[in-house]
């Protein structure tokens, strides 16, 4: 009983500061693994480690701050966030800065900003808000409207072009609609429609470099020194890791720099090379735990908006994991999605942690309400 009381106290302390303990634990473990991997992947670069620490700190603060905000506030902000985000996306296409051959940045004089990052949260918020207006499961007309809400920003981002982010945003909205109870028959129909849309994408919407990525993905060995080089070196790194890996800091593919982008998009290859399949299973386990916890939070949420938003955020997190691991191991084309909370890099990490902040807000709000 005493232990129970202590436990209750502890929970209530975390509850008090709007933090979900299990989720926090999962994130901390993941980030620790990530920092170890980054130390190796950066070639023991202390400058990069420091910057990553700073980002993690900022991300934690963002998460903590957002966790304090009641979910109702998010609900009320949904439409505004979406509209502002949409306007900024249009602005990017018109006046955006070009970085790495794509227009992604909006320079607001005092801050450079990627509106697509805002949309990663604004889209699921908007769709969740819209769908939750009506009884679940949603009617076809609402589903069509929902898809339109998803499609507009997706296309705008794809045109920047940023295939990875548009994919993430599309999935975040679609997950919300799926979780709301879109009928299986309709899912089947939309899948068929999507299949029919693929050739249209190929011929009218995709840029040459994106097509090249897909072609390279289908046969990386066809261009071993050019576009296929990344994926071949990545597969060599992963494959040569074997069951037990080469050991921390011992990965020859990464330490000798055969692996490109080793500290960003291809950090999973470094991890696989140094820790082997054993390490990979542990890492997948950590991700699965976080996803499971997210879905539990969603399931326990009180209202439809919270459920849909929490579920969407969690499943989008999964998409990051799946797409990144899939692309570095040759299952998917290289689309530029980082390994969440492990890859070096700022913007996506802040967005992800903001998402977890909302998740924590939902997780802890519920308890207050039920009291």
């Amino acid at each position: 009983m005493k232990k129970n009381t202590l436990n209750t106290n502890k929970i209530s302390f975390l509850q008090h500061i709007h933090i979900d303990g299990w989720l926090l634990l999962g994130l901390l473990v993941l980030m620790s693994v990530g920092l170890f991997t980054l130390y190796s992947a950066s070639g023991q670069d202390e400058g990069q480690m420091q910057r990553q620490f700073t980002r993690l700190g900022v991300s934690f603060i963002v998460m903590f701050v957002l966790a304090q905000i009641p979910i109702g506030a998010f609900r009320r902000l949904s439409t505004y966030a979406y509209i502002v985000g949409l306007l900024m996306l249009i602005a990017v296409l018109l006046f955006g800065d070009v970085g790495k051959g794509a227009q992604r940045w909006l320079d607001l004089k005092f801050i450079r900003f990627q509106p697509s990052e805002l949309m990663k949260l604004a889209v699921p918020m908007m769709v969740a808000w819209y769908i939750s207006q009506f009884n679940l499961p949603p009617r076809t007309i609402h589903i069509i409207t929902g898809f339109t809400l998803v499609a507009v920003p997706t296309v705008l981002i794809a045109k920047q072009p940023d295939l990875g982010t548009s994919l993430l945003i599309a999935s975040s909205g679609i997950f919300a609609i799926f979780l709301a109870g879109m009928s299986w028959r309709l899912i089947g129909f939309v899948s068929l429609l999507g299949g029919a849309f693929a050739p249209i994408m190929w011929f009218f919407l995709m840029k040459d470099y994106q097509k090249q990525r897909v072609l390279t993905f289908l046969n990386p060995e066809s261009d071993p020194l050019g576009a296929g080089y990344h994926i071949i070196q990545s597969k060599i790194a992963i494959g040569s890791g074997g069951m037990d890996g080469k050991g921390w800091l011992q990965g020859t593919q990464s330490q000798l720099e055969f692996l490109p982008e080793r500290h960003t998009d291809f950090i999973f290859s470094v991890f696989s090379e140094e820790f082997g399949l054993t390490g990979v299973m542990v890492l997948l386990g950590i991700y699965l735990c976080i996803i499971l916890r997210g879905l539990i939070i969603a399931n326990r949420a009180q209202d439809a908006y919270s459920k849909l938003l929490a579920g969407s955020i969690t499943l989008t997190f999964f998409v990051y994991v799946f797409v990144n691991m899939g692309m570095v191991s040759g299952l998917l084309p290289v689309v530029g999605v980082p390994l969440p909370l492990v890859s070096y890099g700022g913007t996506s990490m802040v967005t992800l942690m903001a998402g977890f902040g909302i998740l924590m807000s939902i997780a802890t709000q519920k308890r207050f309400m039920s009291r």
Binding site: I236, A237, G239, S240, F258, S272, N299, K307, L331
Partner: protein, 629 residues
Amino acid sequence: MQRKRQTIRDHSAEANLFARRATVAFFIVVCMLGIVLNNLYSLQVEQYDDYQTRSNGNRIKVLPVAPNRGLIFDRNGVLLAENRPVFSLEITPEETNDLDDTLSRLSTLMAITDDERENFESKLKGQRRFKPIAIRTKLSEEDVALFSASKHLFPGVQIEARLARYYPYKETLTHLLGYVARINKKDLQKLVEAGQEANYAATHDIGKLGIEKYHEELLHGSVGYQQVEVNNQGRIIRVLNVDPPVPGKDIVLNIDIELQLAAQQALADQRGAVVVTDIKTGGVLALYSNPSYDPNLFVHGISRKNYAALLNSPDRPLINRATQGQYPPASTVKPHLALVGLEEGIITEDYTIMDGGRYQLPNVSHVWRDWKKWGHGKVNVSKAIEVSCDTYYYDLAYKLGIDKISEAMYEFGFGDFTGIDLYEESDANMPSRGWKRARFNQPWYIGDTIPVGIGQSFWTTTPIQLAHSLNTLVNRGERYIPQIIRGFKKADNSVDVLPLKTLRPLQFKQQENIDIVLNAMHDVVHGSEGTARSVFKDAPYQSAGKTGTAQLFSVGQDEKYDADKVDERLRDNAMYVGYAPFEAPEISVTVVLENAGGGSSNAAPVAREIMDFYFRDRVFDTDIAQVQP
């Protein structure tokens, strides 16, 4: 937010629906992660071997390591070709603080030429910045000392040492040893054809001439390998494994460097060649061709100017006269011809002719003259050799006929390669009917045969051929191929002597015939009328020989007619072949001097000087000797 709801929400049904969907979603997540895991299992477990190999292929590079070239020693262990470190000044651009500044400061230390700078900058463009680039390839000792003192001021600049061939005896041994120089395209092609390119992967130089070329395979050794770990730019991170190269064999020559130097000295500044051989083995004790040049010039790449000077010199220093120079043998072949005449029964020991200084064929108006205007009087075969009577040999040649002469002389080695271990050898020419038909599309005239008796008329030989044929005669038909290489130097400094190279011995009907000829050659030196008697007067040893004076001026194959030099080059070639000691022959000496005049007055003294040097420490019995039958 104030939107009015049309129906009352069933919260528990919605919660159930969401729970089902979330469960499905989680199931899908697990399935998809399963797909990822399955793919990783395939990469990391099923295809592990393949990817591990490819990973090692990325990082492990095998670098060839050049073997050290074998050294060359003379028969007494004197080093004739050695490997010396040469120093080059190299700059690693990445390690310098400021490349331009480094270069300008360096040029205040040692004058860097525009050529060197240009060369450096062109290499700089095509190379990784961590790879050292040479700015000066051959540092003088001064430069080395100068730079070493202020090395700390030049980060990224270092002195690199490499072994390169050095020939301490310079021009003395050039035609014999040859030299090595950088492997060029043609060499590379030959190596590829021989399947040797891997063995030469790290080798800088290859034998281009002489012994260095002929015994390249022995001297080179086999390549070693160094296994290194490299990064994606090819920078060496560490050495994993070393498979050391097998150095080339140290070879010992039959050459006696002191005798070689004596031969060089004896020739002084006269164009010509000297060959000294060991009669009992065919080993070449000395072989010198004058004029010569410094082979070290070629090792590091000869300048265009120097090379042009060598190539265009009217004295043809690039030709090895001892093996490539083609000279009419003149009277030096009279002993061989006499032997053939005796063997064929055309002449006997007692057969004599009356030499009136001229020889004519019946019904032919052409007169062939003896070198002695009024003739030698009554001459038998011995005297014909001793006084070098031409008329006797006109007659002998006429009676033998070209076919017999040609065949017999070919047996003695005339008109054929001796097989000496040098690629720079000419087979010269032993004329025959067939040869004249092929060469001039003309029949052989009887008038062509007569001068063959005194070693003229299309007949050319090389000094090494003369030496070889003399050895065969002195050895009574035993034939040893002249060899420069003697064997290999073993670790304990003893010599692993190679077996002698022999040819099928020549058979003679009458050993006495050989005695007649050899005794006559002894008379050349020691007889009362011998053509070399004055030159060898008071020599402490008994020797035998034959003088020769050739009336042509042809030198190597490429000789051009030079109007300014015509007078000098029309002078006779002086020749001498001899051996000693007469009773127990050890060495044969062959001397050819271009345009030097008479053989007895000019070539014989050179031979004597060499023989005197060879026997300098010996005490001989001064009784007049006769060859033992």
